[in-house]
Amino acid sequence: MSFSIEQFSATRRLVLQGAGTVVLMSLGNLVAPPALAAANDNYPEEAFKQKADKDAIQALYGRTAEASDKVKLDAPEIAENGAVVPIAVTTTLENVTSISFLVSGNPNALAASYAIPSGTLPSVSNRLKMQQTSNVIAIVEAGGKLYSATKEVKVTVGGCGG
């Protein structure tokens, strides 16, 4: 993809000027309104505490996942930096209800878990932190069953170490 300046700065202007484009009305620091507090209750505390990916999946979904090529996991071969690793998943599976990402090599395997209500497309992109070279696992809960895709991402530091 050549570096087309116009298209590039167009998207930036979209965010920056905000005039008539995205109108941001900030409500400032809300004291946790009830809606928020409720959402916080079902935060899967236990699952995030687990070390191993299997235990985290068990704690989160109560069953194991089977690998499926219908789950497309997009992750770099060598992370340019372990602090910001772009990872995305998309799937052709029907009525997906949840998507999660695990990094086996991290101190706690579960990195993020997303609720996918009906009407929301089954694909998520996010940027995760990885402590070391490790397997990245994407889990998709569809029709009450668990499917997964796994990819190894190499992680190391950069530079010649001053």
């Binding site: 050549s2 770099p76 992370a79 930096n81 602090a83 530091v157 950069g158 010649c160």
Partner: protein, 288 residues
């Protein structure tokens, strides 16, 4: 047969002259400095070394030379991490000083779309003035304390000014003034001089091995290496000015860095920007 003796003789003469403390600088300098020829040779070197990289793509550094890295960069550019610095920079740029003036009063065209002309050689002061130095001089002229050259505020300001110049080609001039030529040459000398216990020069990495891996990183070509500045580096989890980048590069080779905006660093920036003339400004950038 005769030819073989002459160089030996020549060498003996040179060492004798050096030993006698006679400055033979001019003689060994060979041809007089010719920046235009340097810039052309510099550009041809990279175009020949990477025939399938478009000229303006060199400003994307490692991402122009490695597909896996480029995809990670494109993902970051969807909603880049320097977004916050850009916004605070825009705000800071417009916030008047205590005396009511703003940065816009210090720069031609109100500081909008001028980044590609920096650094320039200030004939009155007789030195290279970089964007960061100009910003701090503007603050001083308006009774404000200078900003750190390596911290976020300076990076936010230069990020905003770079953004307003996006797409404009670098346009660095060397005025007809022997001091300007000397500053350019000094920058060139610094770029090619090995330093630090690892005994590397900037060229060791960015001329001899661009596109090569340095553990997780891919070395950027020197052509267009400053076009994306200032950069948000995942390594720093924050913004970095050109000063911060030069300082960290030095410490990578275990050389004690100079103070930010030292004469050597400003001349180095002058050289690097001049040989990248014609390539578009793409700052602020995101890097590993």
């Amino acid at each position: 047969m005769r030819g073989r003796f002459v160089p030996a003789l020549f060498l003996a003469l040179i060492s004798a002259a050096l030993a006698a403390g006679v400055i033979v600088q001019a003689a060994t300098a060979g041809e007089t400095p010719n920046p235009a020829a340097d810039a052309k040779a510099f550009r041809d070197f990279y175009v020949k070394k990477f025939p399938n990289v478009k000229l303006e793509d060199f400003v994307n550094g490692p991402y122009s030379l490695n597909e896996d890295m480029r995809r990670q960069w494109q993902e970051k550019e969807e909603f880049p991490p320097y977004e916050f610095a850009l916004e605070s920079g825009k705000e800071m740029f417009a916030t008047p000083f205590k005396n009511g003036k703003t940065y816009a009063d210090c720069f031609e065209n109100g500081g909008i779309g001028v980044r590609q002309n920096f650094p320039y050689f200030d004939v009155k002061q007789g030195e290279v003035v970089t964007l960061e130095l100009a910003l701090n001089r503007c603050r001083a002229a308006n009774g404000e304390a200078p900003l750190s050259y390596v911290k976020d505020d300076m990076a936010s300001l230069t990020a905003y000014m770079a953004y307003t110049s996006r797409g404009k080609p670098f346009d660095i001039r060397i005025p007809d003034d022997p001091r300007a030529l000397a500053a350019y040459e000094n920058g060139k000398r610094y770029f090619y001089t090995r330093r630090g216990q690892l005994n590397f020069s900037c060229a060791s990495c960015h001329v001899q091995s661009p596109g090569e891996r340095l553990r997780a990183e891919i070395l950027a070509p020197a052509l267009g290496i400053l076009n994306a500045m200032p950069i948000y580096r995942s390594e720093w989890a924050g913004m970095g000015t050109i000063s911060r980048r030069f300082i960290t590069c030095n410490s990578q080779t275990r050389a004690v860095p100079e103070e930010a905006q030292s004469e050597n660093y400003r001349d180095l920036e002058y050289f690097l920007s001049y040989v990248s003339n014609g390539l578009p400004i793409s700052g602020p950038g995101a890097r590993p």
